[in-house]
Amino acid sequence: MMLALEMFRSVPRTVAGRAVGGRMPGILSGFAAPLRLMTIDEPKVDRPGWARLKTRLSGICGSDLGMLSGKTSLYFSAVVSLPFVPGHEVVAELLDDCEDLPAGTRVVVDPVLTCAARGVEPCEACVTGATNRCSRITVGHLSPGLQTGFCKDTGGGWGQQLTAHRSQLHPVPEGFSDEQAILIEPLACAVHTALRAGVVTNDRVLVSGAGSVGLFATLALRQLTDAGEIIVVAKHKHQKELAREFGATEVVAPGEVLRRVRRSTGAFQLQPEFSAPYLLGGVDVAVDAVGSKQSLETSLNATRAGGRVVLSGMPAAADLSAAWFRELEVVGTYASSQHEESFRIATELAATDAVQQLAKNVATYPLHRWREALDHAHSAGRLGTVKVAFDPRSTR
């Protein structure tokens, strides 16, 4: 038996979370969250290529919070299997030998449950290495689940143990702390985002949001592309400082975005009736790293005609008029792709000074303090934290 947080089906709690969670995030860590701390059976390994893992740290991602607050679109209900143990940002150690990796190896998990993990013939996407676009995420010998942490058969990082397939495992280099390693998965997503952004030399880029997604996207854009100016939208003081360290040319407050972009790009600004202003002209590429309606609309409104808007955060419903009128390319960026070697590149980025410093500020909680942990994660930006994680080994 082991201790784990379990997401379960509860329509009243989900509706309550959706209704008030936006205004009162604290309520989500109270009665309204469809989450409970349970003693459950340890996950079994009865499939080839799979091994058990003992969780060392598991991060709380924006998508986890969205799920708990009921904000996530019902679109995703078909690709999860309840009840499940959340947690897809995982650093763990192998309890079993797993093909070439001996027991005891410290690994980070690529959470996408692809054809290889499901034991089915590879789909077209998996053949090309675009594993994040796998078409078989609901079939094979696993229950439906787009990722580890959303599938009832694999367990997740918010439990003391989970299982994973060899194709998901990436050994952690010697010398990396667990806090550093926990950042590799979100960094791999950022690598994918940067490469999906289609930035060409000297492109002006806007990154809307300076949470972990925005900061890592900024770092990846700066390191992996020839972007010129990178303007980052940050709300809090420490986010502004970090954004600069991670490669932002300019950091602006949410209310200043359009004005600053307008001036730095020489765009013209329009003020429609009863609506937010928008630009004729603007940045070449905008990355929405928040996923809120406001952030997405800001990204759309600040991008030049024919430019590209990258949906890095899970998007909310928004006015897409700009995408039509300005012929924008709206591009989604989900998880990371194996053919880009995102985890290898992410591991290199995790070794940089800026990320090492950031890793020192990862806030960890034992599982039984999950309400505090979620409260902290909800207010991470305001409290000066970039990543909050569970440490299931800890009892205090």
Binding site: E256, R259, R260, R262, R263, G266, A267, F268, Q269
Partner: protein
């Protein structure tokens, strides 16, 4: 006869003194011994304005009478000062319109039919049709505006600019092509203060950014001591060099006018009287107005002040060769404004009223308030500044009147972005000026809307450069603290607090001078 300017030492019989602060005023009790500089009372106006104008045109300085310069088939351009002068706006008819009517009559008599009228607004905002009509008068407006022969100068209309070369210091001279190619350019000026007129009229009023950048910069402004003394002003030196090249290329017939100090019409005339001479009626008016302002909603207050039209009297009109005319003008301006002051003080106190040259029919935003206080009022001296080097300046203004998006769009960016990084005029100029000057959106708004040019907030900040360089402490009484901090200054609630804050710089018993503006005065500090 008018009375000259007056310097009062505050004693225990001195009543509280009136201090302007934006859309309002307060009565302030100054510490004993404070030196108060009052402007001279108004000079008498010329009895017959039309006769004075005709006399000036027929008997010009160092030039032939105007009728002799006019001939059939010639290209005639009449340029005139824009809405930034006089302040407040003159009650109609505006003196410029009256002069233009006489000039046009003489031109018609000579058979001149190619005439264009240009408002010399340089990088100021385009005036509206109503504002143009106010200046030139209904008849001239009706005759020229519909045909496109009366218009605002456009410093971004590359096809209609003419580069006349450079001065011996390498300063570009680029002015209105129409003006440069005219057989005669007549400039109609209103000289409210000693800074205006002379070679500033054509050389600046009809010039583009390419030309203006040579003297409208922090370095030049710091070296201009003061703006009101063209012989000691680096800005004027540059304008004079440019003007002399223009004079060699273009025949300029300058017409300059001087006004008296009749700024406030009845029932506001108590505002320009000395407080201890207020009659019972004046005191009642003051109390009624103060009470009215305190309860009036902002829009009404704005309307109350901005609808005020001054009843200036014309004290002189001179025409002819630019420098000769300007010498005469300055004599008259000095006669109206000069007040002799003995020595400098540790602290200079000034109240900033609701209007400056760049917010007519608009709001005096914090940058313009700074320009008014540390630019214009601080520089209202000849000889040496009223306050000593390293002293303190105390200003009154709420610093919270928002930015007008129609007139001052680039000011918002300047305030939010540029001043957030540095308030040093040289630093911000070096780093940001060109970017703002060449911003296509600002250019578009300047050309097609009623916005000041993108670079204009920099110029406003440069005006304050000399004062910022000269004094160690700038404190705003009654100001929004956050705004004051953004500008690089400090805010105090009362004068006593401000003096306490300044005590680290000027000691606990500093000598204080209060410049009792407006009406205008020019302190001759010996």
């Amino acid at each position: 006869m008018s009375r000259p300017g007056f310097v009062l030492d505050v004693d225990d019989r001195t009543p509280p003194l009136l201090v302007h602060e934006g859309l309002g005023f307060r009565l302030e009790s100054f510490p004993l011994g404070t030196r108060v500089i009052y402007p001279p009372e108004s000079l008498p106006a010329v009895p017959d304005v039309d006769q004075a104008i005709v006399d000036a045109l027929l008997h010009p300085q160092d030039m032939d009478p105007l009728p002799e310069l006019l001939f059939a088939g010639m290209k005639l351009t009449i340029a005139f000062d824009d809405i930034s002068l006089p302040l407040p706006t003159m009650r109609p008819p505006d003196i410029r319109g009256r002069i233009i009517e006489h000039v046009l009559t003489m031109a018609a008599d000579a058979g001149v039919d190619d005439v264009e009228l240009i408002a010399a607004n340089a990088l100021h905002r385009r005036m509206t049709a109503a504002e143009l009509k106010h200046i030139v008068g209904e008849r001239v407006f009706r005759s020229f505006y519909p045909q496109g022969k009366l218009y605002n100068f456009d410093a971004e209309d590359r096809d209609n600019l003419s580069h006349l070369g450079t001065t011996d210091k390498g300063e570009d001279i680029e002015i209105s092509k129409r003006a440069a190619e005219s057989d005669l350019l007549i400039y109609v000026n209103v000289n409210l203060v000693a800074m205006d007129g002379g070679h500033k009229s054509v050389g600046i009023g009809l010039a583009s950014y390419k030309s203006l950048r040579h003297h409208h910069n922090a370095k030049t402004m710091v070296q201009s001591r003061s703006f009101m003394d063209h012989k000691h002003s680096a800005m004027h030196h540059s304008a004079w060099r440019i003007g002399r090249v223009i004079k060699d290329t273009v025949k300029v017939f300058q017409i300059e006018t001087t006004l008296n100090n009749d700024i406030f019409p009845k029932p506001y005339d108590f505002l320009q009287k000395r407080e201890w001479e207020w009659s019972l009626k004046d005191q009642a008016s003051m109390l009624a107005m103060k009470r009215g302002i305190s309860i009036a909603p902002p829009k009404l207050k704005h309307k109350m002040f901005h609808d005020l039209r001054s009843v200036y009297g014309l004290t002189g009109v001179n025409a002819g060769e630019v420098e000769a005319v300007h010498t005469k003008t300055l004599e008259k301006v000095h006669q109206q404004h000069l007040v002799e002051v003995q020595g400098q003080s540790d602290v200079l106190v000034m109240g900033i009223p609701y209007v400056g040259p760049y917010n007519v029919n608009s709001s005096l935003n914090p940058i313009l308030a700074t320009c008014m206080g540390l630019g214009y009022y601080f520089n209202s001296y000849i000889g040496q500044p009223v306050v000593r080097k390293g002293g303190a300046v105390i200003l009154y203004h709420p610093l919270n009147e928002g930015f007008n998006q129609l007139h001052h769009p680039s000011y918002v960016d300047f305030y939010e972005e540029v001043l957030a990084e540095s308030t040093d005029p040289a630093v911000v100029g070096e780093k940001y000026e060109q970017q703002f000057a060449e911003d296509p959106w600002y250019k578009h708004l300047y050309r097609t809307s009623h916005a000041y040019h993108g670079v204009h907030p920099f110029y406003m900040w440069y005006w304050a450069a000399h004062a910022m360089d000269h004094v160690d402490e700038v404190i705003w009484v009654g100001a929004d603290r956050k705004v004051a901090a953004r500008l690089g200054f400090r805010a105090a609630t009362t004068l006593a607090d401000a003096l306490e804050m300044a005590s680290g710089t000027v000691g606990s018993s500093p000598s204080i001078t209060y410049l009792h503006n407006p009406p205008h005065l020019l302190a001759h500090v010996k």
